[in-house]
Amino acid sequence: MNQNTIKLMGAMLLAVSVLLASPLVSSSYSAETSGAEAPAVKGDTHKFLYDEHTRKNYGPKADIVWAKPTEVTFSHVVHTKDAGLSCTSCHKGLFSMKAGAVLTSGKMTMAAMAEGKYCGTCHDGSTAFATDTQCASCHTKVEELLPPDPIVWTKPVKAVLFYHKSHTEDYGLACDECHDSLFAMKKGAAEKADDFTMKSLYEGKYCGKCHDGTTAFASDTRCNTCHIGVKGYNRLFGNSASHDTKSQKDPHAGK
């Protein structure tokens, strides 16, 4: 058995080294990416470290990594070998085989997936986990997606602080516990809503979903835990900023 394993490993190494050295593979790679619509994909991820056998049956061995708009990792192996999908399940009806093609189209958005397109064909909540859950499964650098802490709301009153870090790390909340059922991901969306008021919170909307007195402190208590007032806001953004400004961009600095 040991001998067999060593033989297999040797064969694989040989195959990989031959493929890496092969001008055929590198030229086909450059042909793919040197087109007019060069996909914004991290270059090194395209050196498919597959062996012929794996690719044929299970697709490229290395994860596909989309860099834009946010880093997303897709594993062929998980979907073919583990989940048992065949190549034609996704190609070409959902995804073109050409590397980066779906990305340059600009059509693959979370909204499109929610409508059942692209990944959303299977990731609908019944066949596979829904696209509005388990964000970190695909968005591998989910912490990079988060806006810098704290979030500062200035409407309807100035100003309220929210820290993603304490809610996700200290209290262990997942993204989908608030997004999008309570808060749209889009920056400033809550502020534009007319019902983003304390009254709504008391009715269990927005922060009030948890801040109800049982899960977390009630939203009609400890007002100044979140409210920092105009003076606190000025301290955060003003010229005489004293603390807590390291992660904050001064809104007036760029002008």
């Binding site: 100003a159 304390m198 007002c223 100044n224 007032g229 105009v230 003076k231 606190g232």
Partner: protein, 255 residues
């Protein structure tokens, strides 16, 4: 507040108190206690205690002892204040308070304490206390500032004011400023000319407050909310700097 807590407070000394006040303070015994927000002495005498005093020196007005036909006052439910300063904005708009440094009719004071590495914020709205015994009125050489005989509001006659600023020095609450445009002293007058004269029931600041911190009304009128709040037995109500003997008509409570 008990004696043990009091012993931890820093003694402010008696240098800043006039002789008359010292004498009165000693006469009053130990009813006056506490140090808060910048070291002002304030009374934590509960209303039930205060109304037992049954004299004109009581900080909380005693039933049947209102000197004015309409006796306007304000009570701040202080712990509701989130420092949004919508009141300050509304006041500036309504009463044309200039944007100059030091020009103000109402403001929010902020106090930050650190407990177990967490910041605790407190906000306190302040304005002219419309005292029953206003030191500013006593010192005015031209009688430009006086108690309005109808409402008890301390008002200004801008034409008579010579700008000597003696009243500014006399005010225990620093509630007066010199208005360059009017070339006279200006101060909060409970919107007597800008809102009450038009039949509105509230001051601009009270109307603007989203948290209903400021309750404005006639202390004599039993149908008003301020009457109910002031005359609830055993509620804890305090005034700022009761030691001056000015008998302010702006009260503070939590609730």
């Amino acid at each position: 507040m008990n004696i043990e807590d009091l012993e931890k407070e820093i003694n402010e000394g008696i240098d800043s108190l006039p002789l008359q006040e010292r004498r009165k303070f000693l006469k009053m015994g130990l009813a006056v206690t506490g140090v808060f927000l910048g070291g002002s002495v304030l009374s934590l005498t509960s209303i039930s205690h205060a109304s037992n005093q049954k004299n004109a020196d009581s900080d909380i007005p005693v039933e049947g002892q209102y000197p004015y036909p309409k006796h306007y006052g304000m009570i701040m439910r202080q712990n509701r204040c989130v420092g949004c300063e919508l009141c300050v904005e509304a006041c500036k708009q309504t009463n044309h308070v200039p944007n100059d440094h030091g020009a103000w009719r109402t403001a929010i004071q902020e106090k930050i304490t650190t407990e177990n590495n967490t910041e605790k914020r407190e906000f306190r709205p302040v304005l002219c206390n419309q005292c029953n015994r206003p030191p500013c009125v006593r010192v005015c050489p031209t009688k430009a500032t006086y108690k309005d005989p109808e409402t008890g509001i301390v008002v200004m006659d801008y034409k008579k004011c010579i700008g000597c600023k003696t009243c500014m020095a006399a005010c225990p609450y620093n509630a007066r400023y010199f208005n360059e445009e009017k070339y006279a002293i200006d101060k909060c007058n409970f919107c007597i000319d800008t809102r009450l004269a038009e039949g509105k029931k509230e001051t601009a600041c009270a109307a603007a407050c989203p948290a209903r911190v400021r309750i404005f009304g006639d202390l004599k009128d039993k149908s008003t909310e301020i009457y109910r709040l002031l005359q609830t037995p055993d509620s804890k109500i305090w005034v700022l700097r009761p030691d001056t003997g000015a008998l302010p008509n702006v009260f503070y409570m939590n609730g």
